[in-house]
């Protein structure tokens, strides 16, 4: 077994995909014609979005994300060499700041924002392999 998908339930799939394209520079793979499911081009492990209605269709009960409330207890993390530029880009495209880039004792630059639905997104540099 391997991790295939991370699927986030959101209020508006096309709007979220457009947001992720602008804020994080990702590209969409496709949006289903129902507008209830869409995937980003994230390589082998897919980041996907599904409409909150899709949860009910699948028999799931979820607590929808709320930008005004505390975030759900998980995050996604994008890795880049230029954390400061990615953080600025995210903020100028509608993300709310949580923590500006800072250098951790183990040498990693780490920042946090919240997306349009209030989900936590971490933007960090790769962990340096010990030389």
């Amino acid at each position: 077994m391997k991790l295939g998908y991370t699927i986030i339930y959101v209020a508006d799939v096309p709007k979220t995909i457009a947001f992720y394209e602008a804020a994080f520079g990702l590209q969409q793979r496709f949006i289903h014609e129902s507008n209830l499911y869409g995937e980003m081009e994230t390589g082998e492990t897919v980041l996907a979005f599904a409409g909150n209605e899709a949860a009910e269709m699948n028999g799931l009960a979820i607590l929808p994300n709320d930008p005004k409330g505390p975030a759900a207890g998980w995050e996604i993390c994008f890795v880049t060499d230029d954390v400061a530029a990615a953080y600025d880009r995210a903020l100028s495209n509608g993300c709310r700041p949580v923590s500006a880039p800072s250098l951790k004792p183990w040498g990693q630059s780490v920042s946090y924002v919240r997306d349009l639905d209030g989900c936590i997104v971490e933007i960090a540099s790769p962990i340096q392999k010990p030389t």
Partner: protein
């Protein structure tokens, strides 16, 4: 809103308007009868029931009673109208548009399987639980709490029948505190115990399954 065509007298139709149902009920019909109808979003209840929303819960109007509420339904008699032709007859376009906060509240409530706390739900909409309850009662005819309990019941029923969960697992995932809690809800809304779901139960689906 349902239109019934009778088997023996297909030209005679019976218009039926049902309010929000909080109890199971039996529908009698003859083999060969046919129905078609419009299912409105719950927040549109007031557009159909107008001033009578408060009396709509668990009410079924048939024939003349339905026509009294929506007079254009009289035009159906002896005619075969498509849904597209019926919709404008039935819906009151002068009705005030529904508060978008209620539409959002209903979406969140459904997504949560009726399990979200009322204070959390009100927080989504930046309003108080009292305001939320007023919106629910005025437009759907039900309190927020009753609406949530109905969603919870229907979902848990689906966990037993469609997802084939054991009853204890369904109670837990459905959000019932214990078996007795679930049994009370099933008795109130469905009229049966969780262990005795009628095999021929027909559940109106919000989505095609």
């Amino acid at each position: 809103m349902i239109v019934q065509h009778h088997r023996d007298t297909p030209k005679t139709v019976t218009p039926i308007i049902t309010g929000p149902a909080t109890r199971a009920y039996t529908v009698s019909y003859d083999a060969g009868d046919q129905w078609f109808g419009l299912r409105l979003r719950p927040e549109s209840g007031a557009a159909l029931w107008k001033g009578a929303m408060a009396q709509a819960t668990d009410t079924v109007l048939r024939g003349q009673e339905a026509i009294d509420l929506v007079p254009p339904l009289a035009e159906l008699d002896g005619r075969h109208l498509t849904l597209k032709e019926i919709a404008p007859l039935v819906l009151d376009h002068t009705a005030q548009s529904v508060d978008t906060r209620l539409t959002r509240a209903l979406d969140v409530l459904h997504a949560s399987g009726g399990r979200i706390r009322m204070t959390t739900l009100a927080g989504f909409l930046s309003c108080s639980t009292r305001q939320l309850n007023r919106l629910f009662r005025a437009n759907t005819g039900l309190s927020t709490k009753t609406y949530a309990q109905l969603i919870q019941f229907h979902r848990t029923l689906g966990l037993i029948t469609r997802a084939r969960l054991p009853i204890t697992a369904a109670a837990f995932e459905g959000g019932y505190a214990d078996h007795a809690h679930m049994t009370r809800a099933f008795g109130r809304f469905g009229g049966f115990a969780p262990s005795r779901v009628p095999p021929d139960l027909t559940l109106p689906q919000l989505f095609p399954q």
